[in-house]
């Protein structure tokens, strides 16, 4: 059975994205936002971009930096 712990949109995936995008010092806020039943990972990422005005951070190292150079 595949491990879905970090599947896109899962709670732990949300924690990863929010904690790395908002900063570790905002861990509590990140966990609270991760509990929101987002309609999709895209909606969640749009929210993160909206409040940080930066690309979403987190995820595997291969896609950790999404910004184009």
């Amino acid at each position: 059975m595949a491990d879905v712990t970090f599947s896109p949109g899962s709670f732990f995936d949300n924690v990863d994205k929010f904690a790395n995008s908002l900063g570790y010092q905002n861990a509590g806020i990140a966990i609270e936002l991760a509990m929101i039943p987002w309609k999709s990972p895209e909606e969640r990422d749009a929210f993160i971009v909206g409040i940080t005005e930066e690309d979403v951070k987190g995820g595997n190292e291969k896609n950790y930096i999404k910004r184009n150079f």
Binding site: T5, F6, A27, I31, G59
Partner: protein, 153 residues
């Protein structure tokens, strides 16, 4: 005197304070009773007309106020000139230093630490997953390292 007359019944108390049943004032000097009764009738009529002219005050007391409806969490901001992150220490706009003194408290920081620590066991367990991203592992390591001293940014 008729003993069973209403005015002779001690238990028969008029709401207006008089002994009669009509509600009219009695017992004042000659001519003043009718004047008081007329003013009472006029006053009651005036109050009734005011109430009839403003029915909204009887139902919804806020009906006449121009209040914007409450939005949902994902609605666009009602104050587009101010960043949504104004007052918090990330994102655009002023940070927490811009908040009034009454809003400055370490209670939120304490709550922040409490929430993070309460979920630390589950977060640590998930970090052992083979699919756990390195960024997630770094975050959990940060929580573990700060679990004793607290998270203070």
């Amino acid at each position: 005197m008729r003993p069973d007359a209403p005015q002779n019944n001690p238990a028969n108390v008029s709401g207006t304070g008089g002994a009669g049943q009509s509600g009219n004032y009695t017992g004042f000097a000659y001519g003043e009773n009718s004047a008081l009764n007329n003013s009472r009738v006029e006053g009651n009529a005036a109050v009734a007309s005011v109430n009839a002219a403003a029915p909204s005050s009887q139902g919804d007391p806020y009906a006449d106020m121009n209040m914007s409806p409450l939005g949902t969490f994902m609605d666009p901001t009602n104050n587009p000139s101010e960043p949504i992150t104004a007052g918090v220490d990330f994102g655009p706009g002023p940070g927490s230093e811009a908040l009034p003194n009454a809003f400055k408290s370490d209670a939120r920081q304490d709550e922040n630490v409490k929430i993070a620590m309460s979920y630390l066991p589950d977060l640590s367990l998930a970090a052992q997953s083979p699919n756990a991203p390195d960024s997630y592992k770094r975050f959990v390591n940060y929580l573990i390292q700060n679990s004793n001293g607290g998270i203070n940014g």
